[in-house]
């Protein structure tokens, strides 16, 4: 399987990654190689196999009571944000 630079640019958009032309060209080559490796999987008949979602058999998603367990640590967490004001995260204007 071979991906074009255009394919890579579409994937990069879906993944919200900016990309230079040089990068897109390199990724077209390396991603094509990776999908060449992955193509080995096509040789296997999987028509009767159940997909595996969890490495341990019989495990189910644990549920907990719907009660408040976390404390409000907004100020502490917001210390890692580049731009905040009045306890809110700032982003470029989204509504004209």
């Amino acid at each position: 399987m071979s991906l074009s630079r255009n394919d890579v640019e579409n994937i990069a958009h879906l993944a919200r990654l900016s990309m230079t032309e040089a990068e897109a060209t390199e990724y077209a080559t390396s991603l094509s190689k990776i999908f060449g490796l992955v193509a080995q999987l096509n040789a296997v008949d999987v028509s009767k196999v159940e997909p595996m979602a969890h490495p341990l058999a019989g495990q189910v998603q644990r549920l907990r009571e719907d009660i408040v367990t976390a404390t409000d640590e907004r100020e502490k967490y917001q210390q890692n944000a580049v731009k905040i004001e009045a306890g809110l995260y700032l982003v470029p204007k989204v509504i004209e």
Binding site: Y27, I34, L37, Q40, V44, V46, R62, N80, P92
Partner: protein, 487 residues
């Protein structure tokens, strides 16, 4: 006192309790060595000397009052993937180069409560994606056995720190071999427990159905000591298993007479040179002398591990890493035009090239029209591989084979070809796909570079693995070798 770095954790614990030295003295000894050697091997991203000395003083007070536990006062380094409250936590990425974690990972909390002294945070491949520690934003790590070689990855900083004896032990994480492969390349004992045995809370996620925390240290005895404190149920990780943790140290010395060892036929046939196979075969001969029985087993779907992994792991990575949006934490690009530009440039500039490659691989395999052909198919083959292992464990107690197809390779040798790099994990990925516990222990040298023996067990058989490794280490000396420069 000048030789404290040559001791195992178990020996250091005995020394502390016998008051031969204090935790402060021990910690200062290691911090002095970090200062002296870290520059040349780049094993640490952050050195937490102040935290360490405070914790050491507290540990000494505990020990003096007779209250200390098995780990009280022992220094350790954490892989920089574990969140540490108030301490820079980068995951080897520019994206998190400004991130001070607001809480501790459960692994960090448990070791802290057990009295462990944190020396610092170790270098790693960016977001744990790599097998050579060359994808780190903070630069490549050097292998203490030969400074021109890679230490393996992704836990390469932890491996190099322990191998150079600038930490007596370190935490690591293993998604496709990231504890075992660097342990093999630096002559350490490394264990990746069963999926769900150790909490993933606060361990920055790469591929959530594969990630598992563990340790890298100088002996199976040390690994048992550390794993005891790290393991066990944690309600903060929804996939952490609620099952009792056995006493790992208690069964270390069980005789191996009658142990059935499965030799992985596919491992010895696939990509392994005769020279590299020799130390592994020698180790198997030692096991025979210890009374074990060798049985060849075949896992026909195992050769599909690497392609399966390179669908499942990138898919989960693309989902997990979507949280890095440049808004709430992490790197943000300069003067974004609009919100889309903010997302795209923060991610495009904040992630390194291998991380972007994996995000794109994952985005593609999960995208509309391709999901069934890639992700669903890979999850089905993952079941076939897991069933192969389950069948093997009906015949044998443990499986053995090489950890890595070659010893450490030159820095820069494989960076241009991702697929060649991915094939380094050919022997380790199977255990992650099946959620099995697995170890690597030193079993010899090839051209003066360490070679590792891999031991894989059934789910929750950590005690057995540690026992099997320990008995080998009682009969051999490989794990005691120290790189000359750091002796």
């Amino acid at each position: 006192m000048s030789e404290l770095h040559t001791y195992t954790l178990t020996q250091l614990a005995a020394g502390l309790r016998a008051k031969k030295f204090s935790s402060v003295e021990l910690t200062k000894h290691f911090l002095t060595r970090v200062e002296k050697f870290n520059g040349e091997i780049n094993a640490y991203i952050t050195i937490t000397a102040d935290v360490a000395l405070k914790q050491a003083a507290a540990a000494d007070a505990q020990l003096a009052s007779g209250k200390g536990g098995a780990l009280t006062g022992l220094p350790l380094a954490h892989k920089d993937i574990f969140c540490t409250d108030g301490v820079l936590t980068t995951c080897g990425s520019k994206m998190l180069s400004n991130f001070v974690a607001p809480y501790d990972a459960t692994v960090v909390t448990r070791l802290k409560e057990a009295g462990i002294v944190m020396l610092g945070k170790t270098n790693m491949d960016e977001f744990a994606m790599g097998s050579s520690n060359e994808t780190s934003y903070f630069g490549a790590v050097k292998n203490p056995w030969n400074l021109n070689k890679v230490p393996g990855g992704s836990s390469g900083g932890s491996a190099a720190a322990v191998a150079a004896r600038i930490a007596p032990a370190a935490t690591g994480t293993d998604t496709g071999g990231s504890i075992r492969q660097p342990a093999a390349l630096t002559s350490l004992t490394g264990i990746k427990p069963t999926y769900g045995r150790v909490s993933r809370y606060g361990m920055i996620a790469f591929a959530s159905s594969l990630d598992q925390g563990g340790v890298m240290c100088l002996s199976a005895e040390d690994a048992a000591l550390l794993l005891q404190s790290m393991s066990g149920f944690d309600e903060k990780d929804s996939t952490c298993i609620d099952a009792p943790v056995p006493d790992y140290s208690a069964t270390l010395n069980q005789p191996l007479k009658g142990l059935k060892i499965g030799l992985l036929k596919e491992f010895f046939e696939q990509g392994l040179s005769p020279e590299n196979a020799k130390p592994v075969r020698d180790a198997l001969a030692v096991y025979e002398k210890l009374g074990a029985q060798l049985i060849e087993v075949s896992l026909p779907n195992l050769p599909l591990s690497v392609p399966t992994y390179y669908v499942v792991a990138p898919a989960e990575c693309s989902s997990n890493l979507s949280r890095f949006d440049g808004v709430r934490f992490g790197y943000r690009c300069d003067s974004p035009r609009d919100l889309m530009d903010l997302y795209k440039r923060s991610r495009g500039e904040g992630f390194g090239s291998e991380v972007k490659r994996r995000i794109m691989t994952g985005t593609y395999v999960l995208s509309a029209g391709y999901y069934d052909a890639y992700y669903l198919r890979a999850q089905k083959i993952r079941r076939l591989i897991t069933d192969d292992f389950a069948n093997a464990f009906k015949q044998v107690d443990v499986l053995m084979g090489p950890t890595s197809p070659t010893p450490a390779f030159d820095i820069g040798a494989k960076v241009d070809d991702p697929v060649t790099m991915y094939l380094n994990d050919i022997y380790t990925i199977g255990a992650n796909l099946a959620g099995l516990p697995a170890m690597s222990i030193p079993c010899g040298f090839l051209d003066e570079l360490p070679v590792g023996l891999q031991i894989i067990g059934a789910h929750f058989s950590e005690a057995k693995l540690l026992n099997v490794a320990h008995m080998y280490q009682q009969a051999t000396e490989w794990h005691k070798r120290i790189p000359q420069r750091y002796a």
